[in-house]
């Protein structure tokens, strides 16, 4: 991820996402939307609008796909660098 990204933020694998929209419903700040685009399996995937994530982890815990969502929390960068 680029260094300019503001933590926390979610990273959604658009190719693994099955478009069930559970994460969109679970997001307290409404920063996830369903894409107009289709992925290789023909699903409209979920995507992050780029700002406003509070790192609550709801999208991670409600997503039925183990590897579709990663949430980088607030302290992620500082820990990785140190």
């Amino acid at each position: 991820m680029s260094e300019s990204r503001k933590y926390p933020f979610p990273e959604i694998d658009s190719n693994i996402c099955k478009g069930c929209k559970l994460c969109i419903a679970a997001c307290p700040t409404n920063v996830l939307v369903i894409s107009d685009k289709l992925n290789s399996k023909g699903f409209h995937f979920s995507e992050y609008i780029g700002e406003g994530c509070v790192g609550c982890g709801n999208c991670f815990y409600t997503c039925p796909e183990p590897s579709a969502v990663i949430v980088y929390l607030k302290d992620y960068v500082s820990e990785e660098v140190s």
């Binding site: 693994i16 099955k18 478009g19 069930c20 929209k21 559970l22 419903a25 679970a26 699903f43 509070v54 790192g55 609550c56 982890g57 709801n58 991670f60 815990y61 409600t62 997503c63 039925p64 796909e65 183990p66 590897s67 579709a68 969502v69 990663i70 949430v71 980088y72 929390l73 607030k74 302290d75 992620y76 820990e79 990785e80």
Partner: protein
Amino acid sequence: METFLLPWRSLRRSPSFTGCDMEKKTVLRKPKGFIDVYKHKPGAEKDRTHYCPGCGHGILHKLIAEALEDFDLVEKTIVISPVGCSVFAYYYFHTGNLQVAHGRAPAVASAVSRANPDSVVISYQGDGDLAAIGGNNIIQAANRGENMVVFFVNNAIYGMTGGQMAPTTLAGQKTTTTPYGRNVKTDGYPIQVCELINTFTAPVYVTRTSLHDMPNIRKTRTAVRKAIMNAKEKKGFSFVEVLSMCPSGWKKDSLQSQQWIKEDMIPRFPLDVFRDISEDAEAVERPVPVMDPEEVKKIFGYSDFKAGTIQKNPEANFEKVFLRVSGFGGQGIMSTGIALANVGMEYDYNVSWLPSYGPEMRGGTANCSVKIQEDMIGASEVTEPNIIIAMNQPSLEKFEKIMVPGGALIYNSTLIDIEPSRNDVDIYPVPITGIADELGDTRVQSMVSVGAFAAITGLFDPEEIVRLMPSLFEGKPDKVLRMNEEAVRRGHNYVTENFSV
């Protein structure tokens, strides 16, 4: 994280969850409880599950895998897969796994847990598996308080087979097998499994949670972690029922499915902690059963039994005995076999005896397999006999066919008036029942057979058999012993007088 009061705050303070501080996480990603690449999954898509969009299984899988990673239990865990969509749990969990017959996961989990007391054993089951075909298995495992966690995924239908009615299907719910809705007059009421499990004394943790919104997913997470911690600490039986979406089976999208759980399922399946004595429960240590041969001898009255003291006959006609004794039940079939096996043991042979009979105690057909040989015995069933003792005509017709050439066919000429069809075996017609009747009791015919067998094989000396009578007929009156001794001698003499052996 200081600025957000997160629901797992209270969880962190619970003494059961020490050492797994959620707030230390700086990234939420696929837990290590999962296999990195699903290499056991066929096909090209080894980076994703086979579950439908919006399926609850994936969420629960993730919560379990996360707990296993956080508690450092991945290596110690054995997941038992059911039959149902989650049969493929072994594609995903980086744990030990057994996939078992429909509904039998709690039974197998019991055995796995007893044999591996330091493991965390997880029985992961759906409602068709657990509440229908496996109903008794879960009841007995819960009642024994086995050290295990059961995750019961309740989606009110059979998901994998296409959405048929399950025991948990709601009244009025339409499924492929209840197109007009479940009628309680013909199909009964939805089974409330948590309430049922809660009637038993042994379980330590019984709860029902749901995946229908975030607060409840977090409650489910708490329950999953508590149950797994109970298993780690060997506290006994934990049961977590999870109401879960099946968008494909319910013909709804995932959000409608969550709504349906909230509005339709929860009234019948109320979310509650039905029991939680985890804090007070003590670790269950079960004694490991040990078989003490001396104790077994005592129980069976063999404490004075000394095997292998009689000299073998080096000129016996048979090196190995593969015997099939057959006839009506009540003709002494089993006693003949047992007596020969016991005598063989006194001669220090390896022996086996395997009975086979119908459900009737008397009057049905019966046969037994006996092996007597120097070498170790593998299978105890005799499929290619070299000796047959046929007590009636159906037995003769049945078993002469499977004899090996050169064997000895002994048949009861009192009751059988046909000739055997085999001409490549030695045939010994012996009036077994007739000799016994002459002695005054038909029941001694088994010892007549034993005597005839001794003469034909040359393996046993009839006088040695006579000396063993008190141990063969322990506790029987002298009169019975005398009659059986005479039966052995008469059977033996009949053969030596009428045939050249």
